[in-house]
Symmetry: D2
Subunit: 304 residues, 4 copies
């Protein structure tokens, strides 16, 4: 399939819609991103790389980081994770505390904020220099050392992150955090602050389209079953309150972030990252979702 | 792939576990089903049929009927359905009334009971003899006239269906049923009472693995997008409160019923129906889930 | 205290506000009540009767009937009632189903609709001709045979009572109704349809200001403890979602109905009924609440 | 009435039940209190003081402090308080976060923890040395300078107070705290740590039985309406999830604390404080509730 032509067609078709949606504004660092940015990068397991638009520009990955930290946690603790975090869709907002109260402080899944805090806590408990290790892991997945935490973003998240703080203290009250709430929050905010380009994110997600194997080293990033789970989690929990609509329109496992990025995988075929900062009311990139919808429609490639 | 050998291997391996789980007992008609029944039927779009065990024995399809009535409703009203029913996972029990209250009587999706009642209501409003039409539609999908409502089951469901009655009256109070609650309930209980064999159910689900086309007539049962949605709905909502675990273990779109049946599809590849009446605590067939898990593991075929 | 002068002062002061609030409109029989009606009747245990305005005109007592049926049920079954109904404030709307789901079909208290349905069910199970017995009991409390069910109101409630039907079937599904849901609903809708005047309602509530004793016969309607409970229930649960505000402004045990009536008691001192059909957004009579507020302020009589 | 004889009778009758219930154990400072402590102090507006048992021994007032801080906040800001805190029963546990989420961070009332945190925040914003001012205010109410914060208790509450921390951060995320969460929590934990005797608490509550006037100075502590509200709040929200049962059994406005103290008032008649550290499962003192129940039964004095 001529992915390059496909990406260019999509990019051209959507050019008139640049700027749609609302750029996230809860912290100034995100609010000031130019709303007309739009990039796509698609990787295939055989080494193919196809890009269009602002595919090399760095953006704040935000919740896409949950995919990377979950992957790392699965490597570190395996099924132990499921004693402290569920794996079912929540049916509620990504930052809701209601289910935590009725379910004893156990988050529904690792892609809502509470679940990602538990994942961050697990990593903190297992690794000496957890933040550095997460960074190193993402760099290895992406095959690039030019990936960094954005300390200004992390600091701003911390200053405005009262709701995440509430969640962390709430889970602490149920005994579902091992480390002090402040330390877990600091780690979590740093993970969200990762600054990456579409190419880097598409690289980092490629193992999910490659049987769980690192595309260049050939080593298993996760087991086949874990890969299956990560892809299925992206379908059932990856795009906030719009997973049903997303599956309908796009039909790929995907994880989105409020920075405007979305990573998606077509198992055995490709990984793709789109970025455009304008969000719909569920928090997913407007142009990103449109681009993925056209990609699966034009290529007739979808898991469904 | 030698599906026949695969099914026989799985059937043999699980023989020692016949009778595991609890047969549904909320109505006597289900309670008296022999717990050691176990059958599998797999169909491929090219006409292949592979069976093992009690694949020709009729069982009560129960919630599997939700897949058929949803398909019919999508044909009848298209996207109008989504004005009266959501398409997101609920995160709550299949028979919960809580979300209905906070969400104005709009069910989260068509695979929970409330959603299937709305679907039944829509069909009632559009078709003169709705029950006969549903039956006719399922017969056409399955390519068999030997499919009937089990009137004893339908009557028993009605006599014990207080919770479904509560749901119907509740949605009526929000204006989300057009027909009288009793008529909608009667239709719904009849749909659940459909008695079919694994072969018939596998036939009826084959269009989902065949691009939405009827496997023998070649006509479109639903559009490609609708087919995509039906398969994705099965992943996000098809197996009660265990969709995450089911995706992890099995990795196929699937719809289960408390009669012990599960229909699953591997898009572009096969549809399969397993039946064994012993249920796990989420209401899914114990042996059915095990059989599907081994099928996808041994064949390395999964959408993820 | 010169109650007559007090009532006339209040009636005069509020004359300019006649017609404030919204008359209940969910059934046509209530919607057509003249909005400018306003009456007050106050009774003292020593036989005093003080009236002003439309105190002799009949109105639909609606939820005020919950006070009478609860009193009857306490006489019939005593503390057995508390096995099937709580006695705590609900914190939710009077017609919510959410708590029923999480609390196993046990209503929080007898003054929300679900609780009153349980009370109606208990009465149905204990008395041969339950509707006639309820009517007889209210007549005895009020000392008047000129009290009747309004069959047109009862029929209209039934035709529009989908939400109450949902509640009844829901509790039936939990095993907390002994009689068929339809029979319980019929009884409940009849209780709500009772048509009484302010004088009759003030009479019927006087035992609560008289140590639990019937004011003319001197017989115990309920025990001293039960009287204490009925008064406390009116404080904690008697005025829909406004009990806190009502206690603040009025400071008397009270039970309101959407027909615009409110009965209140000052233990050991008086019972009073006000009626004016315009309701505030919580469903309490606007002028009724204002009149009671001035009554307790001007007389410096309040339980607090 | 011979209150002294009454208290002695009650104390004697309950002697055999000393030690019933569970002493609060969530912090070590409370867990080590001797379970057989039992004291009562009753004050009348005319200066009468009646005591029995350990009425002079200090205990941790815990949530009884919510009554004092609410009183102070009403003096400081009047009705402004109700813009940031409701005045209705919650129907949920005193430390629930569920309603906060659905109600935009506005606590239902000032006697649940979230409401008391808002009250503490208000006081912090209005007074220069808020902790000292609260202490001074309680000393003035009680007519005693021998009242102190227990710093060990406050520190222990802080170390174990993850759930309160979650609540504070949650309200902060809704903009309903003006001060930093940590400062509000520190103030709140200090208020709870107040150490007082039954005599001191009964003194401090006497204004509620004295028309809102300080019993010795004669000055208005609060307005008549505010006094009415404080007493009604104690009825509807003062004893955790047992307000209905408490009204039934005791029939007095009351505020309890997990230190085992309960303060109650009979308007125009007396204030009383009982203390015994063994708690029932709702968190109210077992012997305290029994003693108050007998007090109102033997004296036939109740607001209902």
């Amino acid at each position: 399939m001529d992915y390059q032509a496909l990406l260019e067609r999509i990019h051209g078709e959507l050019a008139s819609r640049l700027g749609e949606g609302q750029v996230a504004s809860y912290i100034p660092e995100l609010a000031r991103v130019a709303p007309d940015r739009f990039g796509i990068a698609l990787r295939t397991p055989d080494g193919g790389l196809y890009t269009v638009g602002d595919a090399e520009e760095k953006f704040s990955v935000q919740s896409i980081s949950k995919l990377f930290t979950l992957t790392l946690a699965m490597r570190l603790v395996g099924d132990e994770l499921w004693a402290r975090c569920g794996r079912e869709p929540s049916g509620t907002s990504f930052n809701s505390l209601v289910q935590l109260e009725s379910e004893g402080g156990i988050p529904r899944n690792p892609f809502i904020n509470a679940g990602a805090l538990v994942v961050s806590d697990l990593i903190l408990s297992r690794l000496d220099d957890a933040k550095a290790s997460v960074l190193e892991f993402v760099r290895e997945l992406a095959g690039s050392d030019d990936i960094h935490f954005d300390e200004a973003v992390a600091a701003s998240e911390a200053a405005h992150g009262h709701r995440n703080a509430a969640m962390a203290h709430f889970m602490k009250s149920f005994g579902n955090l091992e480390n002090p709430a402040d330390r877990v929050l600091d780690a979590y905010f740093h993970h969200c602050s990762l600054s990456m380009s579409c190419v880097q994110v598409a690289n980092a997600g490629l193992f999910l389209a490659n049987g769980g194997l690192h595309p260049t080293t050939g080593e298993a990033v996760v087991s086949v079953n874990q890969k299956k789970y990560l892809n299925s989690m992206m379908v059932t929990c990856g795009t906030y309150d719009a997973v049903g609509e997303f599956a309908y329109r796009v039909g790929l496992p995907a994880k989105s972030g409020v920075g405007g990025g979305i990573v998606a995988t077509m198992p055995r075929t490709f990984s793709v990252c789109v970025w455009s900062p304008g969000l719909d009311k569920q928090g997913n990139s407007v142009l990103g979702a449109l681009a993925l919808e056209r990609l699966t429609t034009y290529s007739a490639q979808s898991i469904f």
